[in-house]
Amino acid sequence: MTRSSSWLQALVRISPYTFAAIGIAISIGVSVLGAAWYWDLLLAGIYITGSSLIGAAIKAPRITSKNLISVIFCEAVAIYGVIVAIILQTKLESVPSSQLYAAESLRAGYAIFASGIIVGFANLVCGICVGIIGSSCALSDAQNSSLFVKILVIEIFGSALGLFGVIVGIIMSAQATWPAKA
């Protein structure tokens, strides 16, 4: 069968395994970036929470035990990325080469890719959010300990953002089925 070459053909002829593998890499790589380091000019996760906590604890050592909760929230963001990466890699299956570019194969590859992107970027912004709130929580708790619980409630809402991404990512990957060996 002859096809005219076009950019659409170039896109469709990329192996679905490529998309699936990139999706898995993004789900864990970008999640950990949000949990720990920084994105653009925004400091994320444990980077900002940890340094604010250590700095504030110089004058108010009592804040350490409670404010480690913020670090735990940031770590949970990375763990969501790990969970989804493991789920996605169990969805990879071999298909015979005749079926590699069948519609169902492409669908499965794209579903795994999309799931990885969903989880990765949701956890990225969730990590930035929880990190900055956790940093403010440590600094305000050092000044006034009655503020801690109020800011913790805001932090719980912030961590729910990552949870939404994980739920949608898991649902998206659940229906990634490769064609059966014909």
């Binding site: 009592r62 035990s65 670090v71 735990i72 929230f73």
Partner: protein
């Protein structure tokens, strides 16, 4: 302080191991009835239970941390730092009074001087 670090470390380890254990036990058949699920349902159920387990561990750690009684309301400065700071203030006062021969009433030293005069 070591108790705080220990609790944090144990919570982190459990937070990593619990969801991984749940995922692998679903896929390697340690859960009775898991092998009869379709692949789609297995993914959904194992994924949701793993995420719920992470949140349960976080909730448990929050309860443990909030139950800890506060150690003291006022921060206590490090005694060695405090002794060195007092020594340097005394040293600068002695140097200033020996050079000018009058009482110094600068802002930093006002408390020290009030104590001496009383």
């Amino acid at each position: 302080m070591t108790g705080v670090i220990e609790k944090f470390f144990i919570t982190s380890m459990v937070m990593w191991m619990a969801p991984l254990a749940i995922l692998y036990s679903f896929y390697y058949g340690y859960i009775p009835g898991a092998s009869q699920l379709s692949a789609e349902n297995k993914t959904l159920i194992s994924g949701f239970i793993a995420v719920i387990s992470v949140n349960l561990v976080i909730g448990f750690y929050i309860c443990m941390a909030m139950k800890e009684s506060p150690s003291s309301s006022n921060p206590q400065p490090d005694p060695k730092f405090l002794a060195e700071a007092k020594a340097s203030i005394n040293q600068s006062e002695n140097a200033a009074s020996s050079s000018t021969g009058v009482d110094q009433t600068s802002g930093k030293d006002s408390d020290q001087n009030k104590g001496k005069m009383e």
